[in-house]
Amino acid sequence: MKFLPLDHETQHQAPRKPATRDDPKLSSGRIAVFQYAAVGIFLFLIAGFWDLQVRNPELYNELAERNRVKYLPIVAPRGKILDRDGRVIVDNHSSFRVILSRETLKLDHLRPIAEGLRLDNDDLAAQLRRYRNRPKYEPVVIKQELTPADVAFVESHKDPEFFPEMELIHSQGRIYPQEGVAAHVIGYTGEVSEAELDLPEFARYNTGDVIGKFGIERQYNDTLMGVDGQRQVVVDNRGREREVIGIKEAIPGKNLQLTIDLDLQAVAELAMEGRKGAVVALDPRTGEVLAMVSRPIFDPNKFSVRIKTADWKSIIDDPDHPLLNRAIQAQFAPGSTFKPIMAIAGLETGTIDDTTSFFCGGGASFYGHFHKCHLKGGHGTVALHKGIVNSCDVFFYNVGNRMDIDDIAYYADNAGLGQKTGVDLPHEAEGIVPSTKWKIRMFRQKWYQGENISVAIGQGALTVTPIQLARAIGGLAMGGVWHRPHLVKNQPDKPHELELDPENVEKVISGMCGVVNEAGGTGVRAHLAGVEVCGKTGTAQLTSNEYAKSRGIKIKDNAWFVGFAPRKDPEIVVVALFEGGEHGQLAAPIVRDVIKAYFDKKARGGGPPDSLSAAAKPAPPVLTPAAVPVAEIP
């Protein structure tokens, strides 16, 4: 195509047409200017295409891909938590969460989004700030467990003309039993916090992940959690999915079967209703935890994703510390429940035998201090059996006085006191078994023999957790075989064993049997027809009576009861701690109820009791106070 002024042509025409002012030839030079301009413009345009299409095609291909391909998470459902019979304790329900794409986020959309989802605008802004250093393609989960109104808001506002940065994701929410049943065992889940992400334990999680924060949910988070999948979808400019081009299925978390028996758990929960304390039931033959209750309770459903600030404050500010799992974290003096350990220590070391007797006149003096017996009038002449049955303090003062503290500590240590039992729950407490070494370590002082007197009746520096006590007495009842308590089934473990003289063990057990079954025994309230329950009461002071009186404060003693059954080949050991219960006798019915439930169920062949059939259905077990006979507290 010719585009320069066609001079030869115009010249060719010239002879036929004289050049006049009206002749276009006059403008031929200026037409050439236009033609050059046109050439320039077309080169300019082609250079633009060259830049985009030939020099950088990969860049724009990638941008086009990013435009059209969206990566959406498929949330892996957490594993369910089942009881020992396979009944569901913790289930999932279908829910929605909303995520914000940070690549397309417009900051002035935050306020209307926060309003639409009824979120606090400042919280939302702070949450986004925390993501500042993370890659842009990582979305932010801004709300989980959407209400139907929230879902409607997202659905109607995720079009380009509103807030296209919002995306609705299907997820699985956690349903915990109502009324806090087994709350401390199960724990709760929540969004992983910034602080946790810095810990090695949580290193593999990402901001926004919902992880176990407490209890079994935390201990077995890796088992329960599963691996989120991802969908690669092609979307159009309105964010509508046109095609799925890749899918990585989520790997659901594994179900977890606990050793907890919901029937026993329910009975223990009801027995502790309105009280403060803990109940632990173990199978001494295996260490399986059959029931574990801590009171007061909290509602894990409030935690399941992101707890409201007000709820969190009310839980944290509660003077009763509902988040404390008293079964493994409360460290209190065991009081007289320690006496069976003292007894076996005295017998095994040869300090006493079953004929060794002391006179109890309501108290006795040691090293210049008068130590009272709990029975003002005294028990008279007391040997081992009566000493345990009547829980005579003077008898045990004398035993302790004759022994070396390190020998007492040896048996207490072997029974598992003063150390973590290793139960599969986080944050277990250790308790204290005093010894000469312990004294030097803690106070840089030597041990005074006079301190033995308090330790001998389970006071002084000695503290235990309910689960330690259950394990200690259960192992003793087994003749010196202590299993590690555990909550998840099928955990092989090597029990701790100590060679004990079976006759000595029998003497202690006989005493514990008398506590429950003999007239005058302190634990007769734990008596059950048809099953020989053995046990020991404990009334433990939190501080010395003198101290309390001098301060003019009244501190109620803790009531303990530890019981096992049957006497031969025990199958269950139960500890009840009733904080402020004042007398060990009052803790005995709690233990009795749990043991009764165990043997009732066994007699039925393992089925749940009719009255508890509600609890047998999948979570949440609904318990009504009328469902179980509650022990009367005199």
Binding site: I31, F34, A64, R68, K106
Partner: protein, 364 residues
Amino acid sequence: MKEYLPARDMDWPLIAITILICGLGVLQIFSATHGTIWQDAWWKQLFWIAAGLLLMWVVTAIDYHTLMAHVVGMYVISLVLLAAVFLVGKQVFGSTRWIPLPLGFHFQVSEFVKLVIILLVARFMTELKSDSLEVRDLLKIAALVAIPMVLVLKEPDLGTALTYLPILAVGALLAGLNWRYVAAIAVVLVLVLPVAGLYFLKDYQKARLVSFLDPDRDPRGTGYQVIQSKIAVGAGGMWGKGLTKGSQTQLRFLPVPHTDFIFSAFAEERGFAGVVLVLALYFMLLMQIVKNAQTAPDRAGMYICMGIAALLLFHVLVNVGMVVGRIPVTGIPLPLMSAGGSSMLSVFLMLGLVNNVRLRRFVN
């Protein structure tokens, strides 16, 4: 005066190029709209092409001198119609450009005013007595062009209003405006336009300018179109994704891929190779028109052809420049490719005028 106009004297290469561009446009419209609410745009476009070819032939029958003789009346009618747009116009996307007609058609007055301005400039320049254009005369014709321009600007339709300027500019250039004035006007424009822009442009027009200068600043807003267009073009690469295979076009990330941004869609699906082909066709089209200007029987015919060439060149520059992000988004169609009746008919009318001039090159 009845004259004999042999059909073989029509500019057949010009018509062939036109039909070729239109054909590629129809394919692209089909590809960009199938499966959408605009999916019948391609056969509508075929209808407009047919109507346009007919109109082109009809226009050749009326001697352009006759048309120029009536240009004052046409000019007045244009102003009346532009004013009427404000009274009975149909508002679309916040701007009133169309007068509704029977049968559901809409008439974009500003598109046809282009033709009147071409004839007006041609007549004004022809009637000049001197060999060079005096500034006084330039101001006169500029004022005449400014009146419809302001009316179109008020619609508001900056893009179309600007298309009147190259007609005036090329007219002034060919009328022999002193080079010094050309340079002076260019300098004044460069200095005054940005300032004037701040006062006279609507907010969205300013935003378009800002986003043109820095498209990443506001990726979902006005810069969105530029970014998406560049992505579409770039993703096309050397050979393109193939018709109906371009993801940016098919998933509608590209705004209006059958009208203003049809060339982005074309570039994505046909690649650099297709782009060069079509730009070459446009260039040949322009040069064919320029050739007709050079062979025109008189200065009036030359002014008409060159005005048309300048206008089409401006359209291609602004539309295609916008597609590659080198010119701000003003929203003017790509002649012969963008879907739309008013634009198609006005281009075919212009090509009719070119043929009109060509057929009379041996007359006199």
